[in-house]
Symmetry: C2
Subunit: 422 residues, 2 copies
């Protein structure tokens, strides 16, 4: 695409935070500046904030190379995130006109959105609208999700760091359990994020190595969960082990489609996208185990910690997140629109991956699940293929910038107030 | 004390695991060998395992300097732990005779026990028995507890690493909360260990710095907790902030002595020492907040993670834990018995501390709480004095030995089976 003079770029973050999403933001910024764009705006709280006219000039926040390094080590969405789904174009044309008016006023050439499958829906709709109305603005998606469930890409930035944290923490919990002594045995049930996709829970296998047996069982939400078989499995494990550790996805459900957490009495919430908000799966299972087996049972939820633990990030992941931000910016700069950057793994051992761009229409709202053949026959563990897949994604460390004993994050005066004026 | 030929040493670990307790074990071993003892035995699962004749020869486990370094980076009790309280001597003299027979058979000169206040009760009773019966065996305690509640010592090994993990993770959770957008506001309630002592919960203040506001409120168990005042505090905070983060001790209780978790419907367990097992404080508070204020409320329990996170250990803490193990061994070697090693802080800025030995009778079964003047008038935060106290204890990092992207722990063939034959 020929362009006489480059104007501005706007970038946003959407969906659940990760430890790597800000590295992609840093990548977008760097490439936009390198390619000669004048300003790089950041939407505050994604497209929802943009509609309200809330954005910043990123050059006021990334003022040095050190800032950029700090941003790569800062967890959660620096720009603020949202879980906002645009209406269909025919449902609210005025809203689209409003958004494009704001973009034109800001002299935007490229719109980069960092997010997961719900966020790619935003790229799809805005690029459709641009095409329908003949706008020159290019809309490109940058993948991000700890859930690792985006279609057409080998993996997503954010997943590797969450997987590394999960492997590390599961291993520490296993050691902790091993050291305690319980007359009737102890079962620790660790609850890991993942509504429908078991990528994160499967990563608990990373705890297994020369110095650790790893979890004793791993249950993903892709398969129906059989409560009786689970109890029998634990009963058998307790015959030879004093401490048993089981990892389960928050989204495991019985054959009739009922979430395991619903077997308890906890309340049920639904988010803006209609997803059920799940908590308490591990607790429900612990109650069942202690009453059925008479053992001690403890529930551990990795909760928000697993998506925010930038202190335990994967170097591969942080670097790839930066790279994918640059690739999204490059694609938009070179004229792509309605696309998302994906990873293609060109070699597993040694690991090598390249970025490509794919049609966002084939990605938005889709979900990539763990293949059935990567789960054992009886559904209680992942196979060596799963391990080979995830292993390269957690390699290498990112040394936090430690100040007074605590990792330093990027912060500019007034930053918090900016995010809170919503 | 004059001794013709040094014989053997036995060391045990007791009570809740920490990220630093194995560093003390490494310190005991090193000093015992350096001082010319022949063998260093390790009790499996503390004195409870010893009574059953379960112990190992540590030289088969620490076979190199690398092993020693790995041990310092291995969380939880390498030797296995127990929560076992010896009966009073007059209640079961036979048991004491049995223990001393085992120690004599093993030709033990020094008995080192690494643990908290309950474990120091064991040192007290065994050293009393030795004195009563004219035994030459010396019994010395080595302090360990993330709770930091031992009397007569400035702080306890294990606390610094747990504090560093808590400060780091609270900061990451705050960033996570800041990035999300919630129409009615979000309150995150983080539940931190501590039945009666608020040292760990107070450490959440470490999240506060140039780049982070820190938690919005901190509630320790030393003071009565006023639910209504808490709700009003959150109501006021939500007027200016979209995301509020509150840290609470698991042990907070109302003025009538009722634990906050008992305000919910969760079951109640009692451990071998008669302590109530608490969970669900944060969840109870979240339920109250969401019904009273209509806000979104999420509960996060740091649970076992906070005591096992050796991947985020404090260098000061790991080094001091090693040092205190050596000091306990040195004291026993030089004839002390019925003592525990303590830290005396000789300077706060720059930080400096020395070890001394104190009478274990003045330590066992006692609890050191956070001074009232280190909590603000209204009881909802800690003062700068608290911060100055904890700051030095989290300084410096211990680089994990990363193998295939995951921290490596010490493990010898058959190790797990050893611990599990109970």
């Amino acid at each position: 695409m020929q362009q006489v003079a480059k104007r501005n770029v706007i970038v946003g973050q959407s969906g659940g935070p990760t430890a790597a999403i800000n590295s992609s933001l840093a990548g977008v910024y760097r490439t936009a500046i390198d390619r000669g764009y004048k300003k790089v705006y950041g939407m505050l709280h994604g497209v929802q904030g943009l509609i309200e006219g809330r954005y910043i000039d990123l050059s006021e926040h990334i003022t040095s190379a050190l800032d950029s390094e700090l941003l790569k080590r800062t967890p959660a969405s620096y720009l603020g995130s949202c879980r906002y789904k645009l209406p269909e174009i025919f449902q609210d044309k005025e809203l689209y006109e409003k958004i494009f008016k704001i973009l034109e006023d800001l002299e935007i050439d490229c719109f980069i959105y960092i997010g997961g499958n719900d966020s790619m829906d935003t790229i799809k709709k805005l690029s459709d609208y641009a095409m329908l109305t003949g706008s020159d603005i290019r809309f490109v998606g940058c993948p991000k999700t700890i859930d690792n469930d985006l279609a057409l890409t080998d993996h997503t930035p954010g997943y590797g760091s969450a997987a590394k944290y999960i492997g590390t923490s599961v291993k520490e919990v296993i050691r902790d359990g091993l050291s305690m002594r319980n007359a009737k045995g102890l079962v620790t049930v660790i609850e890991i994020m993942g509504r429908n996709a078991g990528w994160l829970t499967g990563a608990s296998v990373l705890a297994k190595g020369e110095d650790c047996d790893g979890p004793d069982a791993i249950y993903l939400p892709e398969l129906d969960f059989d409560v009786d078989a689970f109890v029998e499995k634990c009963r058998n494990l307790l015959k030879t082990k004093n401490s048993v550790v089981v990892c389960v996805s928050e989204g495991i459900h019985t054959a009739d489609g009922k979430y395991v957490m619903e077997l308890g009495e906890n309340a049920e919430f639904v988010d803006a996208f209609g997803h059920k908000q799940l908590t308490g799966t591990a607790r429900v299972l612990c109650n069942i185990l202690s009453s059925e087996l008479g053992c001690k049972a403890r529930a551990i939820e990795f909760s928000t910690l697993q998506r925010a633990a930038s202190h335990c990030a994967s170097r591969i992941d942080i670097n790839e997140a930066f790279e994918v931000g640059g690739a999204a910016m490059k694609a938009a700069d070179e004229g792509d629109s309605g696309k998302m950057v994906v990873f293609v793994r060109t070699s597993s051992d040694p690991y090598a991956a390249e970025t490509e761009v794919k049609d966002v229409h084939k990605i938005a709202n889709d979900e990539r699940l763990v293949p059935r053949e990567w789960v054992t026959e009886d559904g209680s563990y992942v196979t060596p293929e799963f391990r080979s897949y995830v292993d390269p994604l957690i390699q290498g460390d990112v040394s936090p910038v430690m100040v007074d004993g605590i990792p330093r994050h990027l912060y500019k005066p007034g930053y918090q107030e900016l995010l809170e004026q919503s």
